[in-house]
């Protein structure tokens, strides 16, 4: 029961501060050793219990560094669970934490059930008998909470996608099992080519899901949006009106916004992480120069650019120069202060969407939101069908399902018999079933009896 090692993110998720990935169990040290590298490349930390060490987390599969971390290895029994425990303090933010957990799981840990650390603490005698009921309450509460989160995070599209893939697997499995269990029935055995083809398709779907786990990042972390333009065209007032509240200092003295201001807003269900940058212009002021350089950098990294121009002083030389620097495919031209020049007209045909607004009166803001949505959803087709695989548990399950399907594919090519192939296929189905709680046997029998005419 307690002979496997478990891991989980043991701090609540959110921005800021540090997050901890905790591993507990007899292989905790061995698992940590696989993913942590220390400065000297040695594993001396293994000998120093209950001390903080500095190191890096890397993905053993790719060697890619994930995060710089502080970690401590604690030898049983003086630990929370009375087992060997490793706690890895990652930088805050979801991604490094989740990636760290992912490599820890890949290195041999099992995802902890809700409340499992506490449960182990109790089973190993650390928590005394009087608290047994409190332990039960913790497990119960955590489970219910986790269930709520799981359900709410099981995005409708992910559910659909999963159900679709499971259905494909079940169709294959039912075909194979029907042939095995009813050998004398008139059941058309699928050809190896067809089964190989279906397996390939399913792998494609699973890989797409795993990729979407990365694309899902956009929804999780937001679309990085930078508001740019020469000084004093109304960038901060646009930011404020998008935010619906005063945040950035709004003055008409050029260069007031020296600090980068970040804020997340929700436009039609798409989270935008808005950055208001210092005006993009050549400047002598050193402090501001840094701000401008940073702004350029941000403009490069951003997923979406809102280029602001002033309706009263439209399309200056400087505006032209800035526009030239930008990536058109992710830029919207926002003509601000239209209330001050309602008769604005221009001959240019811009290669990007143009929206006229007044951040003061709110005029044109709806059109701007439409334009933003259109650019994001139409420009990146993947996004519109993006499936949010936000939980590491889901990703882990999909990853395992994919592995089983790859083994199946290898099995087809080396002539492994049907009954053994079905083991991998069934395992793939079961891994996906962990996400939405479905079990194989009954579904399988239902499918066999509905798909095949069987009987004497």
């Amino acid at each position: 029961m307690l002979d496997d090692s478990i891991a989980a993110i043991s701090t609540s998720l959110g921005e800021g501060g540090v997050g901890i990935v905790r591993i507990s169990g007899r292989d905790a040290f061995r698992i940590a050793d696989k993913v942590i590298s220390t400065a000297g490349g040695n594993s001396n930390w293994l000998k120093e219990s209950h001390r903080m060490h500095y190191g890096r987390i890397a993905d053993p599969a790719t060697g890619k560094i994930i995060d710089e971390v502080l970690f401590s290895a604690m030898k049983a029994p003086k630990t929370y669970t009375r087992e060997d425990v490793v706690e890895i303090n990652c930088h805050g933010g979801y991604i490094p934490l989740k990636e760290t957990l992912r490599v820890v799981l890949a290195a041999g840990a099992r995802m902890a059930e809700p409340g499992e650390f506490t449960k182990r603490a109790f089973l190993n005698g650390r928590i005394d008998l009087a608290q047994a009921e409190a332990v039960i309450d913790i497990i119960r509460a955590k489970t219910e909470n986790a269930l709520k989160i799981a359900v709410s995070q099981l995005d409708g599209r992910l559910s659909e996608k999963l159900a679709f893939i499971q259905d494909k697997i079940l169709t294959m499995l039912a075909g194979m099992e029907a042939v095995i269990d009813f050998p004398e029935e008139d059941i058309q055995e699928e050809s190896n080519e067809k089964l190989t083809g279906s397996t390939g398709e399913i792998i494609g779907e699973l890989e797409a899901l795993l990729k979407l786990a990365a694309t899902g990042k956009i929804y999780r972390e937001g679309v990085k949006t930078a508001i740019i333009g020469r000084p004093n065209v109304g960038k901060s007032s646009l930011l404020n009106s998008l935010l619906g509240q005063e945040r950035a200092i709004v003055t008409s003295i050029p260069g007031t916004t020296r600090d980068i201001i970040q804020e997340t807003i929700n436009i039609k269900g798409i989270p935008l992480v808005l950055t208001d940058t210092a005006g993009l212009r050549e400047t002598e002021d050193l402090v501001e120069k840094i701000g401008v350089r940073k702004a350029r950098e941000l403009a490069r990294e951003a997923d979406l650019l809102l280029l602001v121009m002033d309706a009263q002083d439209f399309y200056t030389q400087e505006d032209k120069r800035i526009l030239r620097e930008l990536d058109f495919s992710k830029t919207i031209l926002v003509i601000n202060k239209i209330d001050l020049n309602e008769t604005l007209s221009y001959k240019e045909e811009f290669p990007i969407p143009v929206v006229k607004i007044s951040s003061l009166s709110g005029q044109g803001m709806t059109a701007l939101e439409d334009s933003i949505e259109e650019l994001i959803t139409q420009g990146k087709a993947a996004l519109s069908e993006t499936v949010i695989v936000s939980r590491a548990r889901h990703e882990d399950a999909i990853y395992r399902a994919n592995k089983h399907m790859e083994e199946l594919l290898a099995g087809f090519s080396t002539g492994v018999p049907l009954d053994l192939l079905s083991i991998d296929l069934r395992s793939a189905w079961e891994a996906l079933g962990e996400i939405n709680g479905s079990t194989v046997t009954e579904d399988l029998l239902d499918r066999i009896f509905s798909d095949f005419c069987i009987g004497k």
Partner: protein, 632 residues
Amino acid sequence: MEYLAGEYDVIVVGAGHAGCEAGLAAARLGCKTLVLTVNLNNVALMPCNPAMGGPAKGQLIREVDALGGEIGINTDRSAIQMRMLNTAKGPAVHALRAQADKLNYQENMKWTMENQPDLDLKQAMVDKIAVENGVVAGVVTDTGAIFKARAVILTTGTYLRGRIIIGELAYPGGPAGNMPSQKLSDNLANELGIKLMRFKTGTPARVDRRTIDFSKMLIQPGDERPWNFSYSSDIEDREQIPCWLTYTNNDTHSIIRENMHRSPLYCGMIEGTGPRYCPSIEDKVVKFAERQAHQVFIEPEGKRTNEMYVQGLSTSLPEEVQWKIYRSVSGLENVQIVRPAYAIEYDCVDPTQLKPTLEFKSISGLYSGGQINGTSGYEEAAAQGLMAGINAARGLKGRKPVVLSRSQAFIGVLIDDLITKGIAEPYRMLTSRAEYRLLLRHDNADQRLTQIGYEIGLISRQRMDRFANKRNLIVEETARLNNVRFKTSPKAQGFLEDRGLVIQQGTSYGELLRRPEFKYRDLLKLSGDMPDLPEDIRESVEIEIKYQGYIKKQQTQVEKFDKIESKKLPENLEYLSMRGLSREAAQKLDQIKPLSLGQAARISGVNPSDISVLFIYLEKANRESGGKKTVE
């Protein structure tokens, strides 16, 4: 007038496939045993098809055999055809199937029963089970005979309130023209408080061999290799009689459609739930309307009868329509039906009321096995009968029950499914129900279970020795192949050139066997010094070596599974007042009363957090009683 007719240790009610195994096992384990049947001419009756085995069912027979049951030996003696199915689909699902001579099967089994010491076989209709203070006391027959007993095993098959339906005609009846049991259901349900369900099944018509045109059918012969189910059978010479294959056609389907309104199933005359894997021909035509033809197998019922079984044409349509349906099939144009097809409805027990020993939780000493537990099939019945017989005998002798796990045997899967998950339709064993089917093969049933059968006392010393010898040969040959390395020779070269293969010098034969393109029989052509081993040993060795990787994978899964299975739950846990369980889980646990955490986890509605809660309770109870840690 009631009178005392006899006193026994164990009484078995019913002498079908479950009853015979139960009675033989109890008597062989030293219990004074009585087996009662409504009709002594119908001991071990095969009221449906004349076949034994097939996928999963064949494994069940071999398991029963390895534990010391009778069905394998009896089938070998009565077989008129043997075939190994699924040979191309992998080692886990090879399945032996036999056609049995029905009368011969019955005669052999009855003779075995009659000659079994400590076993009495009598004809009587049991109307009542006597229970005193929650403990079984005996049975009472319709003639007033009281038989006292310390354990009673119900193996009543489809006889409880049996009702035969042929089209618009319906009457109380048992299978194959036998009398039903009319009163026992009432006693079980109303006096003993046992929850009953109503199921339905059916069988096709029997036809006269002489009126069939076999020239329009495909012959289905048996295998040339002399197979046996039992590990103790040595029958090598067996006269084999073929089966025949033909098909329904559009005419058949039109006749069925035109007469559908007369089907008792479609006009609501049948209330029982039927099995999906055994649909009537009208079901198949309705559900799979696009199919132009359905298979029909013609199977001999025996050597000395002209009756033939018509697999695939089970129906409950009126007799007059049956004639039209049958005669529309190619080769059956002039067929004479000698017994009409019928459907039968019967009462059965909700098996979640049983312990894994097949004893009722609510009545000490009362067991049930076979079709009364909602299963279908002779093999499923035999397996349960055997386990009920073994456990009834052990219960009386104060010995530990024998419960097989899901990782040990199909028998374990079968009984665990019944008592843990319950059933909504007649239950048939399928290989896909077993999680570890690669380990539960037909070729290794003896390796899995002979030792257990020997310890129980149903396997003789002689047979145990024979098994040990076989096991040694397998172990030795496996080790030898892994050690001996390929050396080239003219003979080997010739073979390799024919096949277009290349082998590196020094490759072990084990490695060769793991390659998909090599079979054991190829090694015989490569090497001059292969030992002369029986075919079944070569096969076991081949499977063990060839699929080692997959087998190891499953063994690892089993180790995990066994850990949670070994966490025992006390029978007297008060689930309803247990804090932290969900309401549904508490109710289900209270009803099923699982014996282990693993079993608890398989109950629908019990989720992982409930299992965590149970775990904590176990540990708490253990510490309170001053015990050592339960974990690790």
